[in-house]
């Protein structure tokens, strides 16, 4: 390997490691925010008593108890699996449909009102329908996730394509790129500007809707566990499950969405002033 190539490879690796460290370092800000939330929670606990609001420490203890229970892991894994498969489904379908609509203004004009209708139907109505169609199964949860998050992903992808810089398309064509190449190297890459925020929103929706659908459709998972906690009036247990579902969402977001977004948005960071970067 020529030394110049090796040096640039080392340089790139060092740069990447630096970015990972900077990202981890930014975790302190998140930790500070969580501590503030815990303080407010503790204040609420002291004002209303343990029956209305369990203290953060008791909730942490309940989470710890859940963590040592293999059954709880299975429950969490079930919800995680449903939320992720639902998210993958909606990401694939929404992106594909949105990109098609973005390239065809007539389709976009036709689907606009449909999206409004879809957004106007409350998710709870879809849960009832899905329960009738699929019973208390994975398909119910996935269907509800798909329907409630589809408009956001669709619009994100469509807007990304319609607002693309056509000058870049023209440039690529002048350098001999065919329609498929232009789509892969220019169109798709530009649509990430609006698609990524939409996907992050869809992921959050997927987790929330999964728990809600499980609770209402009596389909097990964290939603089912929450329903049990409600029957037993066990506030600590309910809050522990809420904490678990939030923790699951955060871990997925920071292992999946954020690294991908950071990689795609490297150039945006280069434009930021120093004070915003750190």
């Amino acid at each position: 390997m020529p030394s110049a190539t090796r040096r640039s490879l080392l340089h790139r690796l060092a740069e990447r490691a630096g970015r990972v460290l900077a990202f981890l370092w930014s975790g302190w800000a998140g930790l500070a925010a969580l501590c503030l939330l815990a303080a407010a929670w503790q204040a609420g606990h002291e004002a209303y008593g343990p029956f209305i609001l369990t203290s953060p420490l008791d909730t942490v203890a309940a989470v710890a108890a859940l963590a040592s229970d293999p059954e709880a892991w299975a429950i969490g894994a079930l919800t995680l699996q449903r939320a992720i498969t639902g998210f993958v489904l909606v990401a694939a379908a929404g992106t594909a449909l949105g990109v098609m609509a973005g390239y065809s203004p007539a389709t976009l004009r036709l689907t606009g009102p449909l999206i409004t209708v879809l957004m106007g139907v409350p998710p709870i109505a879809w849960i009832v329908l899905a329960m009738i169609w699929f019973g208390g199964s994975d398909a119910t949860v996935r269907t509800v996730i798909l329907i409630s998050a589809l408009p956001v992903v669709f619009m994100g992808a469509a807007r990304g394509i319609t607002t693309r810089d056509r000058g870049l398309d023209r440039m690529a064509e002048a350098f001999g790129a065919g329609p498929v190449q232009r789509f892969l190297t220019i169109g798709l890459r530009q649509s990430t500007t609006t698609l990524f925020p939409a996907l992050a929103l869809a992921l959050g929706t997927a987790f929330k809707v999964a728990v809600m659908a499980e609770l209402l459709a009596n389909a097990g998972g964290i939603g089912g566990a929450l329903a049990d906690a409600r029957i037993n009036l066990d506030i600590a247990q309910a809050l522990a499950w809420v904490t678990v579902s939030v923790a699951l969402l955060i871990s997925v977001e920071y292992t999946l969405v954020h690294p991908a977004k950071a990689e795609v948005d490297r150039w945006r960071r280069a434009a930021q002033p120093w004070g915003v970067k750190r």
Partner: protein, 249 residues
């Protein structure tokens, strides 16, 4: 054999004729400047000649092997570094991965980009550096014909001069032919072998003037004198500074 021939080319946009009966030929190694008032269809003509737009009538014959294009807007991929942007053209040209890095380095040297500039993103570069990158992207694919679509209009006077010198030197060294669209007569007089004037309403080429001497060998005084004479005495250039905003460029 000419490098580029336009034969009775015409174009209409939304039912309105913007170009009609355009005949123009560019010889190998020759740079032809196409001038005309704004909105007369110069850019459209360049796009037709480069194959980005299909002409409604007439035909375009291309005698060159590979063309590149430099736009008024540098049109760089914001997410790719300078090296990545130059690489994009090479990838589209089907250059093998092994030779690409050498070609990028060579093109960067040609336009005086430093190795550390190659790792920067377009947002970190000044306007002149971005246009340099666009020129490097065009030169890297080793074209024998370059379309210039008012490439230096947005640059300041000193920078524009340096870019013009760069174009003159590279085109002369590589025997590259070119069609240079501009509305600046002195720019045309500096870097072209021949100046063609497009009609105000795109109704054909009004006429051509051959410039004395090779580009790069004309003194500033000679260029200035030619422009003054053209504007004062030559009826061909009478409408060159007419502006009609209602026309579409």
């Amino acid at each position: 054999m000419t490098a580029l021939t336009l034969d009775g080319v015409g174009h209409a946009y939304l039912g309105r004729t913007i170009l009609e009966d355009i005949d123009l030929a560019v010889a190998p190694g020759e740079i032809v400047a196409l001038v005309g008032p704004s909105g007369c269809g110069k850019s459209t003509l360049a796009h037709i000649a480069a194959g980005l737009t299909n002409p409604r009538t007439g035909r375009v014959r291309r005698g060159y092997a590979r063309h590149a294009m430099i736009f008024q807007d540098p049109a760089l991929l914001p997410w790719a570094t300078t090296a990545g942007n130059i690489d994009y053209g090479l990838r589209l040209a089907g250059v093998s991965r092994r030779t690409r890095s050498a070609r990028i380095a060579k093109a960067a040297v040609q336009v005086a980009l430093e190795p550390e500039d190659l790792q920067k993103f377009p947002v970190e570069l000044s306007g002149g550096m971005r246009q340099r990158t666009a020129i490097a992207r065009a030169l890297a694919i080793e074209p024998d014909f370059i379309f210039f679509d008012e490439p230096f209009t947005a640059l300041d006077v000193a920078l524009r001069r340096r870019m013009q010198d760069l174009v003159i030197a590279t085109c002369a060294a590589g025997r590259i032919s070119g069609l240079f669209i501009t509305h600046d007569l002195s720019e045309a007089a500096r870097l072209a072998h021949r100046v063609a004037v497009l009609d105000t309403r795109g109704q054909g080429i009004l006429g051509e003037r051959l410039l004395a001497g090779a580009p790069g060998h004309r003194s500033d005084k000679a260029v200035f004198a030619w422009v003054q004479a053209a504007l004062r005495q030559d009826p061909l250039f009478r409408h060159i500074h007419d502006v009609d905003e209602r026309q579409i460029a």
